[in-house]
Subunit: 222 residues, 2 copies
DNA sequence: ACATCAATTATCCGATTGGATAATTATCAA
DNA sequence: TTGATAATTATCCAATCGGATAATTGATGT
């Protein structure tokens, strides 16, 4: 039957409603690529699989993003942008020092717990020595608000004696991130070594409180 | 020229002194595989490359270890065994509580700093959700001494009032490991975001002191 | 209508790579 | 010396996968 398009014999192919919408397609690729890379890493991430799940041709991926590496970079940018956006909603300025520190700790902890795929992606990028982030300018600009928020709390606290002076906001941010990140990223090897639950809601709540206490304990004035 | 073995034109191939020593060969494969996997991950790690660098045939790798996965597991076991061995040399029992806590902190921090490839390997294993560690019994047995050492210090400290009571040794170990691990593992993404040096000897010394202070600050009695 | 250009598809390809088959060689006990 | 066994090599293969070529099709402005 010449002229008849070969129709794959499948269950009612519901004609993907691809409306040739540039942004829509791009975003869909990004979303699926995020999952794929977070799950399988950079070399483990498969462009064929991304294409299949996005219901497009692989060629389209290379059409929008030039290479697998650039796609990965774009995914990173998107992921970080989402985190920074979430941080915007924190309003530490309205709180007294101790409450602000605790709220910051709890937010950061929660974010990591709620976004394990983000944590995985960052781990993966570190395995690649941050070479994709190093290139992207966007990623470096996103960071400012986060730190200055902390700096303000520290200043206010130091002024009224509630927080000891001389604490570097970046360092505090690092400490908090380390604790929050580890609780998700290293869960598996840690649990394998120690009979220590890190995944249940109960364990999570406990560690959350623990970290908030710890952070406050180490910044409060004597 | 039939019958003539193709001789790669290389600098004086020094006839590898392979003495058919089972253990020697096995260990050499492990050492090189460690580097390969730590550098490139599991799917990124190349058995051909391992064979080449070990100056053996790839087949030999599958002869000793049955698959890439099992090789990776063996590498993990070796790496952890080395860390636990290093921990043996810590003699916290001889020190008073504060000194013991500080020494523990500094040792742990130093170990991670000095073994970035180990840190990478652990990150990679976590990306794979610890599925290799979960299987290996050896890896679970190695963990005991480490924790009981900490537990003893905490007990002693609590008894004399220097350390507040009720601290879980595993949790303390987690806190310390999180801080030490992050300082190496997440160096790249962190440095890319914040203009914050984490690699120079000076920065290292500073963070080391910082973590020891922090740990003490959060366990000492009020 | 129609030309244009952007979005999308169909198809192919060469390099890579985990693993398999089978031959070969060193070692060592009897 | 020799036979058996363990260590090692030489080769091959099928599957995977990033990326390239070129054709096709839908939207849009005129």
């Amino acid at each position: 039957m010449p002229g008849v398009k070969k129709q794959p014999v499948r269950a009612a192919k519901p004609v993907p409603i691809k409306r040739r919408d540039r942004e829509r397609t791009r975003q869909e690729i990004l979303d699926i690529a995020f999952e794929e890379f977070a799950e399988n890493g950079l070399s483990g991430g498969n462009t064929d699989a991304i294409a299949a799940r996005a219901n497009i041709t692989k060629r389209l991926i290379f059409y929008y993003f030039n290479s697998k590496e650039e796609l990965f970079t774009a995914v990173l940018e998107m992921a970080y942008a989402e985190m920074r956006a979430a941080e915007e909603d924190l309003h530490l300025e309205a709180l007294e020092p101790e409450a602000a520190i605790r709220r910051l700790a709890e937010f950061t902890f929660d974010f990591h717990q709620d976004h394990p795929q983000f944590v995985r992606l960052v781990s993966i990028e570190n395995i690649h020595r941050g070479r994709h982030m190093a290139i992207s300018r966007r990623l470096k600009e996103m960071t400012q608000p986060s730190i200055s928020q902390i700096a303000k709390v520290l200043e206010r606290g130091a002024a009224c004696g509630a927080i000891r002076p001389g604490i570097d906001p970046v360092e505090l941010h690092m400490t908090l991130n380390a604790l929050s990140f580890f609780a998700v990223a290293n869960r598996h090897t840690f649990e394998a070594q120690f009979a220590f639950d890190m995944s249940s809601p109960k364990a999570r709540a406990q560690r959350r409180a623990e970290i908030a206490d710890l952070l406050w304990r180490c910044v409060r004035g004597d």
